[in-house]
């Protein structure tokens, strides 16, 4: 698969939140506005790309050569958790304003099923190292698109009159459902025809 194909697939067609249904909790449950959304997305994208690369390295140089694929889950989970922790420590030193925007530890919000899911998708897809990194970045971009759209919808709905029993999270989930139906328009065949035109 070409790099453009990977970017389009993992950011739009197979959007990690709206199509793969991963990382729903930070998307629909996280409080805060666009600033928080940007901070969460940056942290998650970074973690996704690093996790994808780490998963590729572990799979290629450790799990397959030694025939210990049954240790994949513990190794990946520990790898992703350690990267999340290191990212948190690095962010504390280098970009403390990002942490202030997020309000909670980055490692806490970034370690979710979406980050481990991307690592597992990379391994199942038999990508190269560069492709794995691009998969992580594209999935992070998809996460940002979904999270920013859902935040924008939530901000609009906050000033609208809605039935009291649907206020808050139920309405966010229903909005996410309708957005997921809209994302079904990003069909693989449609995008490939569009790319051929370029």
């Amino acid at each position: 698969m070409s790099l453009i194909g990977i970017i389009l697939t993992f950011s739009l067609v197979d959007n990690i939140v709206l199509s793969r249904l991963l990382g729903i909790c930070p998307c629909v449950g996280a409080p805060g506005g666009m600033r928080m959304t940007a901070a969460t997305s940056v942290a998650t994208s970074l973690l996704m790309s690093l996790s994808a690369l780490t998963a590729w390295v572990l799979e290629t140089f450790l799990l397959r050569p030694f025939g210990i694929e049954f240790l994949r889950i513990p190794l990946f989970v520990l790898g992703v958790a350690c990267i999340a922790r290191l990212l948190d420590l690095a962010a504390r030193r280098m970009v403390p304003q990002l942490l202030r925007a997020a309000g909670v530890p980055l490692a806490g919000i970034a370690l979710n099923c979406a980050t481990l899911g991307v690592a597992l998708l990379v391994v199942r897809g038999s990508f190269t190292a560069l492709q794995s990194l691009v998969v992580g970045l594209a999935a992070g971009a998809g996460f940002f698109i979904a999270l920013s759209l859902l935040t924008a919808i939530r901000e609009k709905l906050e000033v609208e009159k809605v039935p009291s029993w649907l206020q808050g999270l139920p309405l966010h989930l229903i909005s996410a459902g309708l957005l997921a139906y809209a994302f079904m328009a990003f069909d693989r065949a449609f995008l490939s025809r569009l790319l051929r035109g370029w």
């Binding site: 991963l22 909790c25 449950g29 989970v77």
Partner: protein, 235 residues
């Protein structure tokens, strides 16, 4: 009675709204929901047991009291994560050995049990009242974990029943002898609402379930308040 709080009062999906990814992703068929529920129950209970035993042996000291939101990193988080991931790997091997078709159907969602928000919430939250290291004992911790796992299973089965019946017109269960495993719902199987099986259907079902849970809890509270007023008037 406190254990029932994890099952209904503090139900992870309907009330606390955590662990939503598998609830939306694997509820297209009832059998997938049953296997996923079994996996989360297995990992949750055994991880709590493992944590309790390790703390009891003094290898992992209890963490400080919880003062921050869930999922923050504290002492012992890596050990808890490692335990959860090991039990998840064990469950995946068991699933692939006994039900390879369902294992393939669930795909990456089985390994993701290790970082499921419900499991992370329990694993990374030392110092909670039911924590095995805080002196209340392993048994209470296990009871709470089992109640949460059962509450999660109940919600997953309800969502999957709604989605599969309306979206496919079938109910898929475990095949046994002459029973092929699939029950066709008359009428619906000929013209199902396929949109409910897609990703958007998962979100919609979850949203309406959360709304229904809120309505139920409100009416229950109102009923209790009305009952209290009547008693006060009688007195």
């Amino acid at each position: 009675m406190k254990q029932s709080r994890g099952f209904l009062g503090n139900n992870p999906i309907a009330v606390l709204m955590v662990g939503l990814c598998p609830a939306a992703a694997v509820t297209g068929r009832v059998i997938d929901a049953l296997w996923m529920s079994l996996g989360v129950f297995f990992v949750l209970v055994l991880t709590r047991l493992g944590q309790g035993i390790l703390r009891g042996l003094g290898q992992q000291p209890p963490g400080p009291p919880s003062t921050q939101p869930a999922l923050a990193f504290r002492r012992g988080w890596l050990g808890g994560l490692f335990l959860a991931s090991c039990f998840t790997a064990s469950f995946e091997l068991i699933l692939l050995a006994f039900a390879p078709e369902e294992g393939a159907s669930l795909g990456i969602y089985v390994p993701l049990i290790a970082v499921n928000c419900i499991v992370l919430d329990r694993v990374l939250e030392p110092g909670t009242p039911d924590d095995p290291g805080t002196g209340k004992g392993i048994l209470r911790s296990l009871q709470t974990a089992a109640a949460i796992g059962a509450g999660f299973a109940l919600c997953l089965v309800v969502i999957s029943l709604v989605r599969e019946i309306l979206g496919s017109g079938t109910i898929t269960l475990f095949p046994m002898r002459s029973f092929g495993g699939t029950i066709e719902v008359g009428g619906l199987s000929r013209a199902p609402a396929r949109a409910l099986i897609s990703a958007g259907g998962g979100f919609l079902c979850l949203g309406y379930l959360a709304g229904a849970a809120r309505l139920l809890s409100r009416s229950k509270r109102q009923g209790e308040a009305n009952g209290g007023e009547e008693e006060a008037k009688r007195a």
